[in-house]
Amino acid sequence: MNTQTLKVGIIGNPNVGKTYLFNRLTACEGCVGNWSGVTQTACRGKAGGDRYEVIDFPGCHALREYPQEDSANAISEVEQQIHQNKIDLWLNVLDVEHLEKQLYMTIQLLEAEQPVIIVLNRIDRLAVIQKNIDIQQLSAFLNTPVVKVSAKLGLGIRSLQTTIHDRLKAAKKDLPVTHPISYDSAIEGLLNRKSQSSGKSRWGVWQELIAADYADRPPAWKFEPSISQRRLEYKTLTDEMALTRYGFIQRWLSRIVSDQPQRREAKDKNWDDWFLHKWLGLPLFFTMMLGVFWLSMGFGQLIQGVVEPLLRLVTIDIPQQLCQYYDIPHIIEIMLTQGIGLSVVTALSFFPILYVMFLALHALEESGYMTRAAVVMDRLMRKCHLPGESLVALVLGLGCNVPGILATRHIPNHNDKVVTALMMPFMSCGARLTIFAVFSSVFFPQQAAGVLFMLYVLGISVAIMTGILARYSGLIQTQAAETYLLDLPSYQWPSMRVGLRQAYVRSRRFVTSAFTIILPVCVGLAFCNHISVQGEFLLTPGNQSILAFIGKQLSVIFAPIGLTTEHWPLVVSLVMGLLAKEVVISTLSIFYMQMSAPLQTEIPTISLLWQECSAEIFTNLNAWYAYFTPFIQIEAPSWAPYFNQQHISPQAVMGYLIFTLLYFPCVSTLHATARQVGWRWAGFSVLWSTIVAYICASGYQLLVQLPINYGQAIWLMSAAALTYGGALIIKWFASKRKNTNTATSPI
C-alpha cells in the first residue's frame, strides 16, 4: 500500500470538457456546462482504486496571462501547484476543434518541466467537423503521450487510465524533459546562464524575465545588448515568446492536422442572428430569464404541493402519533417532531423549486445561450461599471445568492468581482421569496403580487445603488473595459440526461448544506421554546420560554422598524435568519404553530392523517394553474391566524419584510463571498447590508407615519448620523485601499 497518494491534475482551456473527464475518472459529480468558468474552484476525487487523487482545476488560457491588479490574486491555484512541483502528473485536456491556441499552454507546461499526458477530447466530433489528427506526429512533436477520448460519451477512458497508471509508475525525475520550442540563440544563452548562476529552473528564469515586461520597470535583460536589440523586432520578450511559440505550433499543425473548411460557424451565426439581433436581442434575453423563473416557480411549486404534505405526514404527524401512542416523554416528542421533523420538511421542501430552476439554467448554459446573455447585457451593465458576466451572476443570485457569488469567479477583473459580490445580498433569493409570499398571503392577500414585485424592485434598486456608490465613492476603482474578451461557445442541444443529473446534484448540494444549518437551529429552537427561563419544561410555548425572553430583549433595537416586545417571535426569526433565510419561516412555524395549535391530547389515527394529507395533495394539484400565474401564490399557513392576536400592523409587517430583504446575507453567502473576494470585503458586505436594511425599514415606518413626532425626529437625526458614519467608514476604506495601491505600485 502506498504511503503517499499521488496527485494527477486536470488542466486545459475553459470549456474543453475537463470536468466531464474528472467525473469519468473519479465517479464524482462535478458540474459541467457549455460555457467558460463552470468549474470555479479545484475539485478533488480519488481514482485508480484510491491510488491517486485527481484534481480538476478551473480552466485557464495560459499559465500566466498577466498579473492582476490585486497582488493576492496574481498567482493562480494552478501556478502555485507548478511552482511548488506538487502534481505528479498533468492531464492536459485539448478540444479537437481549436488545437492551435490550446497547444500554447501545453508548450508552457512542458517548458515548466512538468510531466504531461495530452488528452485529446471530443474525438467523436472529428467525423462531424471532417478533421483528421495524426496522433503519432503530435506525440512526436511534444515528446509526450497523447490519448484520444470522448469524456462525455466515455470513449477511450480505459486507455487513458492505463496510460496514467504507466506514467505514474515511473519516478517523476525519470520522465524525459522536453522543450519543444527553440527560441533565439541569444535568449537561450541568457536563459541557460541565468539558470546556472541562480540555480533556478529555466521556467523560473523565464517568468522572472517576463515579469519585468509587465512591471514596466527596467527589465532584467536591459543590459544584455544582444537581447535589447530584439526589441527592434518585437516590443517585449513576451511578444517574442508568444509569436515564436505560435510559429512552431503552426508549422507542426500543418503536418499533423488536415481539415475541411468548417460549416459550423454558419449554424452558430444563424442562431446569433436572432439572439444578438439589434431589436430582438434584449426582448429575447428578458423572455429567457422570465421563462426560467416562471418554469421554476410554476413546476417547482406544483411538485412541492405534492411533496410537502407527504413529508409532513412522514416526519411530523406520524412520529407525533407514535410518540403519543407509546407514551414517550413530551421533550423527546418535541425534539423529534418540531426539531428533526420540521427541519427535514423545511430543507426538502425547497428541493423541487431548486431542481426545476437548476434544470432550466442548465439548459441555457449547455445550449450556449448563457454567454450570449452576458454579451447582450454588457453595455447596460457597463453603465454601472460592471461587465455582462456580472448580470449573469446577479440573475443566478435571484435563485440563491450562494451560486450567484460563486459565479463571480468568471468575472475577469477583481474590482468588478468585488462590486458584484457587494450587490449580491440585495438580490432577493428563493428563500426570501418564500418569506415574502407567506407574509403577503396573510397580510396583503389582495395585493400579494404587488408587494412581491415592490420588494423585488426595491432589492434590485438597492443593489444598483450599492454598485454606483461603490464606484463613485472611490471605494472600488473603476477599470476601463480594455481587456474585454469573451469566448462564445458553439450552440448545442442540451442533454436531458446530463441536465437532470446536474440539477439533482446542485439541488442536493444546496439542500444538504442548508440542512446541516437548519437541523441544529430547529432542534435548538424547539428546545429553547419549550424550556422556561427558570429551566422548567413548557408543554405549550409562550411568554415564559427562553426564546421569548431573548426576543423581548432584542425587540428594543427593532422598535424603529415597527416591532414591539409583543412581536418577539419575529425578532427571533430575524436573528435565526443569519444562519439561513430558510430558517425564518421554520422559526415562525415553531412559535406560531405551537401557540396556535398546542400539542393535542388525542392524536388522529394514521389512516385519518393519510386522508387529510391526500386531500391536501389533491387540492394542490387541482389548483395547478395558480402556480403558473405571473407571481407566486402561497396559501396562508395554518398558524397565520395567530398573527391577529399579536396585533401586528401591516406597516410593521412591511418594515419587517424590507429588513428581511436587505439585511445580513446568510452565513453560506458570507462564506462564499469571503472565498471569492476575501474576508475584509465579506465583512464590509455584512455591515453595509445591515445598515442599509435598518435605514430603509425604519425610513419606511417614518414615511407611513408622517407627520412625525418628537421621538421620531430624534430617530431621523440618529439615522442621518448613522448614514454619515457609514459614509465615513466607506471613505476610510477607500483611502486605506488607495494607500495600499500606492505602496505596492511599481516605481
Binding site: 513576451t238 505560435y246 476601463a480 474585454y484 474578451l485 462564445l488
Partner: protein, 78 residues
C-alpha cells in the same frame, strides 16, 4: 473613445499588428491564438452597440470596441 475604421460586418480582415495595444491586452489575445497574420471578421454587433462578435480561426469571441480599436487591419485578399 478611439474607433477602428474597419467596422464592416462580414468583411474579412488580416491582422497586421497588435502593437497599438497595451501588453496586457496583447497577452490576452495571444492566449486565444489571436496573432498578426490571422484572418478576422466582425460577425455581429451586440444589440446595445458594444461588444463586437468576431470570428477568428473557427472560434467566436466577444470583444470590446475599445480593444478592437487597437487592431491594425487590412482587408483580406487571398
Amino acid at each position: 473613445m478611439p474607433e477602428n475604421k474597419h467596422m464592416h460586418i462580414g468583411v474579412a480582415y488580416r491582422i497586421l499588428s497588435l502593437n497599438n495595444m497595451r501588453l496586457v491586452q496583447r497577452t490576452a489575445l495571444y492566449t486565444r491564438g489571436i496573432i498578426p497574420g490571422k484572418k478576422v471578421a466582425i460577425q455581429h454587433i451586440s444589440p446595445l452597440g458594444d461588444p463586437l462578435i468576431i470570428t477568428i480561426d473557427h472560434q467566436t469571441l466577444a470583444i470590446s470596441r475599445e480593444m478592437w480599436a487597437g487592431f491594425e487591419l487590412e482587408e483580406w485578399s487571398e
